[in-house]
């Protein structure tokens, strides 16, 4: 069964900490995405990558960065966590095109 695995289901971090959210896919997909889900706002795209070492800003990149050193792994980095980054973070991968998106189960991050 194909999978997108997010390393943590729940995380609690302190304001100002550097936070790493890890995502690994086993489908050899070219594209990977990071979204955050907030009530009333739906899923908003933070960053995406369509190739190794490539990255593009999504709709809300401020306060975040990403790393894709290997095809299967896409990391989201919160350089200095703030309380307004408390959210559910969802990673997805796709082979390209609008179909075949596979999402991970999400990481619920709380910044205190």
């Amino acid at each position: 069964d194909v999978k997108v695995t997010q390393s943590s289901r729940y995380l609690v971090k302190r304001t100002g900490e550097k936070v790493f959210l890890e995502c690994v896919q086993d489908m050899d997909h070219e594209n990977m995405f990071w979204y955050r889900q907030d009530p009333g706002l739906g899923l908003r795209l933070i960053y995406f990558s369509y190739d190794v070492k490539m990255k593009e800003k999504g709709d809300i990149p401020e306060g975040y960065s990403v790393s894709r050193e290997k095809k299967e792994r896409f990391s989201l980095i919160l350089e200095s966590a703030s309380t307004n980054q408390t959210s559910m973070y969802l990673c997805a991968s796709s082979p390209g095109g609008p179909f075949g998106y596979t999402f991970g189960s999400g990481t619920r991050l709380t910044v205190v």
Binding site: V4, R9, N31, F33, Y35, G40, L41, G42, L43, R44, L45, F48, Y50, E56, G58, L90, A92, S94, G96, G97, P98, F99, Y101, T102, F103, G104, S105, G106
Partner: protein
């Protein structure tokens, strides 16, 4: 600037009846529209899609209708079952910055009552 909007945060329907979920969009460059279903503690899963050149697509109990002139689409579930209780996201696809991206709506929480 919400390009894809689901104006109903929640919907409650009796088991066996029809559920209708609505979605509006603003960007005429979207080429596909998709519906995703999300259970708590799980990632969204693909449900059904429609090309921007079609006006209807059907898959079992699920039918999606597209009205391009109104920039409106809807998902019909007939008959509704308790397992359909979930959050439904409307998404629109657009080619930008070298990749096909999905833009999601706010979601509608559907509750099917026995």
């Amino acid at each position: 600037d919400q390009q894809v909007k689901q104006n109903s945060p929640s919907l409650s329907v009796q088991e066996g009846r029809i559920s209708i979920l609505n979605c509006d969009y603003t960007n005429s460059m979207f080429d596909y529209f998709l519906w995703y279903k999300k259970y708590p503690a799980e990632g969204p899963t693909f449900l059904i899609s429609i090309s921007s050149i079609k006006d209807k697509n059907e898959d079992g109990r699920f039918t999606v209708f597209l009205n391009k002139s109104a920039k409106h689409l809807s998902l019909h579930i007939v008959p509704s079952q308790p397992g359909d209780s979930a959050v439904y996201f409307c998404a629109a696809s657009i080619w930008i910055q070298g990749a096909q991206k999905l833009v999601f709506g706010q979601g509608t929480r559907l509750t099917i009552n026995p």
